[in-house]
């Protein structure tokens, strides 16, 4: 048995977590350095894998080992375009979060090193989730990610952290357990057809009756809708994001919630193509509600972190809409959106975190005139906000545009209404900016320090990427495209031909 690249990639952060825990308690700094080191090495390895994937394709990275034979479960890892993008996002955000939260865990319930060790553990499991090509393995890792996140929220957050952690866990478990029923159902079908196997490639060959397919689809979809989160299963997110440290919120919204939308593409569309098409109308409406409701509620928030959490609900609405529009443009846009949303929300949460840690309050009314005292902070906040509202020229714009264009070609009315989401986005970001940063300097703000070198270091890569991919998104799109096309083919839908085709002469 030879160890593949992806196994190595999974093991690395896991070993890092153990190594971090083994550092003596007194040497907190050393523990943090060890953790950061491991996350950086993981990032390098991820970069090597991503480059190799672009050059040589997916074959080099697929690996399958028998795991639990009576269950038909395999330790099977592999990459496709969607997976690569999210693996890169995970590997990228982890060290950034570590640098940005360097001192955030000091007044946590447990030692600082455990904060960093949990982050590495979460990274290992998330990488596994995005690379798993066996449904059983995916499920196991999907559920296992709850444990580090639960302890990250519950151990290192604000006053209401235990409540938020338990709420997060119970919502996720509800989704996860219903999915378990569907996973069991898949096994039964697979066993009836012959040898039970959980490999995606085997399951895609299964002949499932219409009703069964719909029920199984619902089990999976429900879990992903809770995870993503979509209205009306979203209420855990604002609580969790508001109580957790900003770094934890980034991991939660930036990486963990992507598992939901990732799962919709990888599992709902691939395993249950007919049921996915059947469910399209309802899912699209729910997505639309998420977009508008998330944005409207965001405008009304008085807490910075809750506001950002609601903006994410709105953004996830866009992502889900793009996926279930079932056009190649929409799907590509959604995948790109997942990546870009990771970048922009991370920037927004982290800068907001810097601000909150300086003033010691997350309430918007406690701020005012920050741009006069701390211009760099205010500037990065504005930049992050603008990227979040999808300003043209910044990377989220392209993905949002693709999602809307892809949806428009099939569902005109929905797309038109969804565009309102962009307007509302401008409102919630700009109103927040205006209240926090402009106007007269409030009491308690006068001595606010500007960003230090470490904080700038954490934000800088995000800024560079947001601008870079905003101008030149082709490398990422090129990776996503083939995966999207094969998914589309499997679902059996083709893009609608344009009503006014481009002919040779007009070119």
């Amino acid at each position: 048995m030879n160890i593949g690249w992806l196994t190595l990639l999974l093991l690395l952060p896991f070993v890092g977590a153990l190594a971090t825990m083994l550092v003596p308690k007194a040497k907190a700094l050393l523990a943090k350095q060890v953790a950061l080191g491991f996350s950086l090495v993981t990032l390098v390895l991820t970069a090597i894998i991503a480059i190799g994937y672009q050059r040589n394709g997916a074959e080099d990275y697929a690996e399958t080992h028998a795991w639990i034979e009576p269950f038909g479960a395999h330790f099977a890892l592999g990459l496709d375009g969607v997976g690569v993008v999210l693996v890169v996002l995970t590997a990228l955000l982890t060290p950034i979060v570590m640098i940005a939260s360097w001192n955030d865990a000091q007044d946590g319930r447990w030692s600082e090193k455990s904060f960093f060790a949990w982050i590495l553990g979460l990274e290992a499991l998330s990488l596994g989730v995005f690379a798993a090509t066996d449904v059983f393995l995916f499920y196991v890792l999907f559920e296992a990610t709850l444990i580090p996140m639960y302890f990250l929220i519950g151990g290192f957050g604000g006053a209401q952290r235990s409540y938020a952690a338990v709420k997060f866990l119970l919502y996720s478990l509800l989704g996860g357990l219903l999915m378990l029923a569907s996973v069991v159902g898949l096994y039964v079908l697979s066993a009836r057809a012959g040898d039970p196997s959980y490999l995606l490639t085997d399951l895609m060959q299964l002949d499932i009756s219409q009703n069964t397919e719909r029920w199984l689809f619902l089990g999976f979809f429900f879990a992903f809708a809770v995870k993503a989160p979509m209205v009306p299963f979203h209420t855990w997110l604002p609580d969790a994001a508001a109580e957790a440290t900003p770094g934890t919120s980034v991991l939660l919204v930036g990486i963990l919630d992507k598992i939901g939308t990732f799962g919709m593409i990888r599992f709902c569309l691939s395993l249950f193509p007919n049921a996915s098409e059947w469910a399209t109308p309802v899912v699209l409406v729910l997505a639309l509600i998420s977009i508008l409701y998330g944005a409207l509620v965001a405008i009304g928030q008085t807490d910075i972190k809750r506001l950002i959490a609601y903006t994410s609900i709105s953004h996830f609405g866009f992502i889900v809409m793009g996926i279930f529009a079932l056009t190649s443009q929409g799907l590509t846009g959604s995948t790109l959106y997942m990546f870009n949303h990771g970048l922009s929300t991370a920037a927004l949460f982290l800068v907001a975190g810097y601000l909150i840690s300086r003033r010691g309050s997350a309430r918007i009314v406690d701020y005012g005139g920050v741009e006069k005292v701390a211009p760099v902070l205010a500037g990065t906040f504005l930049f992050a906000g603008l990227s979040s509202l999808a300003l043209p020229g910044l990377s989220p714009f392209i993905s949002e545009f693709m999602v809307l264009a892809g949806t428009f070609s099939r569902h005109k009315v929905l797309a038109v209404i969804a565009v309102l989401g962009i307007v509302l986005a401008a409102l919630y970001i700009l109103i927040m900016y205006q209240r926090l940063m402009t106007g007269p300097v409030r009491d308690g703000i006068e001595k606010l320090k500007d960003l230090n070198a470490r904080e700038v270091l954490a934000i800088a890569p995000l800024v560079v990427l947001i601008i870079g991919l905003g101008i030149f998104p082709k490398p990422v799109v090129d990776i996503i495209k083939p995966a999207v096309e094969s998914t589309m083919q499997h679902v059996g839908v083709t893009d609608k031909a344009p009503e006014i085709p481009v002919t040779e002469g007009q070119k």
Partner: protein, 529 residues
């Protein structure tokens, strides 16, 4: 009959397959030796001698059973009374392994000032002078070891009884020592004696139901043997009323031992009152033996009328899961909470039982019901004993501090112990990468394969409710502040350390690589008659 003298030629000695039944003989033989030791050995030597005899007997019996499994020696022994088949042998090994861990806990003397968890003199009135003198002299009842051996021998017999009469005898053989063990707690003796009394009365009641049911089934089939009843079902017409009544009453008797709702009411009181090592032993081993006995009777003898009893088990399964998991939420005592959790687990097991995923029912590939149940019992047994072992370590001046509020902030005081307990709880909750998850997966699969998918959905929702109260304890241990008068964490001796370590190791290994045990359970095959 009395005066009749049989001519010698007519008498044939019953054929006993000594080789195949040797594990039973070893256990019962050692138990008898233990009684003799009790009578003749001086007091100070008894503890060591009894422990040695018990451990050696269990290990020898386990090795003999393993050899039988390896040789694939499966047959109906002792004139058709005992069925030494795959499931029985598998159950024997599991029972012996879990008993070994329990016996280690029984022998623990370092957590409570050099005294074991059992009363020094059971006959002394609680709070009396005699009791105090006994405690000062460090007297102890070493009879618990032979009692345990009798109990486990009875359980082994119960799991392999191929005849209703033997089933009943085995039930009493393992129940009576348990009633006694329950009443022997050193601390809180009144509650312990009350528990023993309740268990005895309700147990006797259930035995009566079972016996009446057996009588009715005998009336229907004219035979006590499970195979004979199955044949009678196939050939006889009429007499349905007596058959149904018999099935129902036998079901009541067996479901009582399993701890299924509505026959569960003894569980919380007995689990709470009994000495904690005994609770662990009962929670794991009784459930295993009772479940295998239940399956054997219903699959082998009554398989032909499964359409008649399936609805009853459906209802019982749903009730058991729902009541077990919901009532657990309101519990304020660790041991009572674990009791309700064990009730909920019985419900999950029933889903696989009622799934009837058997080759005989047209299920040819995938996980069978028997395999799933056997596997689940393993994944349930080890964490259970481990969890109760942890409970013995959290103590204050009054003995074990079992009230949940006393566990607040335990994660601060002893992160290792709290972490281990949290891991066991996560396993009970069925979180992936623990034994509980693979076990749950197996029983749900068996249930669905047999078409009982609505039960799977109910089970999944109940798992969520159950997860809530497990997580609540984790919150309490890790996210609450340590009160000033927090209980101490006793330093365990090698016995408890080994027990916890074995439970933990089994929980991890079965969660990560359950394949080998699953395959062993698959190799056990079906019940033979």
């Amino acid at each position: 009959m009395i005066a009749q003298i049989l001519p010698l030629a007519d008498f044939t000695a019953p054929k006993i397959e000594y080789g195949e039944l040797m594990p039973l003989f070893v256990v019962f033989g050692a138990a008898c030796v233990g009684v003799v030791v009790e009578a003749f050995l001086p007091r100070q030597l008894r503890h060591l001698a009894q422990l040695a005899i018990t451990v050696v007997a269990i290990v020898v019996a386990g090795v003999l059973t393993a050899i039988l499994i390896n040789d694939k020696k499966e047959l109906v022994a002792a004139q058709g009374a005992i069925s030494v088949d795959g499931p029985a042998l598998f159950t024997w090994v599991v029972l012996l392994a879990l008993t070994l861990i329990s016996v280690l806990l029984f022998a623990e003397r370092s957590v409570d000032g050099g005294l074991s968890a059992f009363a020094g003199q059971a006959a002394a009135v609680p709070g009396s002078e005699a009791e105090r003198e006994g405690t000062a002299a460090k007297v102890e009842h070493t009879e618990i070891f032979p009692l345990t051996l009798f109990a486990v021998g009875g359980m082994m017999l119960f799991a392999s009884a191929n005849d209703l009469l033997l089933l009943f005898v085995a039930l009493e053989v393992f129940s009576l020592p348990l009633y006694l063990l329950c009443g022997l707690a050193r601390r809180r003796r009144l509650i312990s004696q009350e528990a023993a009394m309740k268990y005895f009365l309700l147990g006797a009641f259930a035995s009566a139901f079972l016996l009446f049911g057996i009588a009715l089934l005998y009336g229907y089939a004219g035979t006590m043997s499970l195979g004979g009843i199955s044949d009678a079902l196939a050939s006889r017409t009429g007499g349905d009323a007596i058959l149904l009544a018999g099935t129902g009453l036998v079901g009541v008797g067996l479901l009582f031992k399993v701890g299924a709702v509505p026959f569960h009411s003894w569980t919380p009181d007995v689990y709470q009152g009994a000495p904690t090592p005994v609770t662990g032993f009962m929670a794991a081993c009784t459930k295993i033996a009772a479940f295998i006995g239940l399956m054997r009777v219903f699959y082998v003898a009554l398989g032909g009328t499964r359409w008649d009893w399936a609805p009853m088990i459906w209802v019982v399964a749903i009730l058991t899961m729902v009541v077990g998991s919901i009532v657990a939420i309101t519990q304020t005592d660790v041991k009572r909470m674990l009791a309700y959790s064990s009730i909920a687990h019985a419900g999950f097991l029933l889903t696989a039982f009622i799934g009837l995923a058997q080759a005989g029912n047209g299920v040819l590939s995938g996980v069978t019901s028997t395999q799933a149940v056997l596997f689940y019992l393993v994944t349930y047994g080890f964490p259970t004993i481990g969890a109760f072992a942890v409970v013995t370590l959290v103590r204050d001046a009054g003995g074990e501090a079992t009230h949940l509020s006393r566990w607040a902030g335990l994660g601060k005081k002893s992160p290792l112990l709290a972490g281990i307990f949290a891991f066991f709880l996560l396993s009970f909750a069925g979180i992936p990468l623990t034994a509980g998850f693979t076990g749950k997966w197996a029983v749900f699969t068996a249930a669905w394969t047999g078409g009982a998918w609505p039960l799977v959905v109910v089970a999944v929702l109940c798992s969520l409710v159950a997860a809530f109260f497990y997580v609540r304890v984790i919150v309490l241990m890790f996210f609450s502040d340590l009160p000033a008068d927090a209980p101490d964490v006793a330093l365990p001796g090698w016995q408890t350390t080994t027990a916890v370590a074995l439970g933990l190791a089994a929980t991890v290994v079965l969660g990560l690589v359950p394949g080998p045990v699953l395959e062993l359970a698959a190799r056990a095959g079906e019940f033979i008659r």
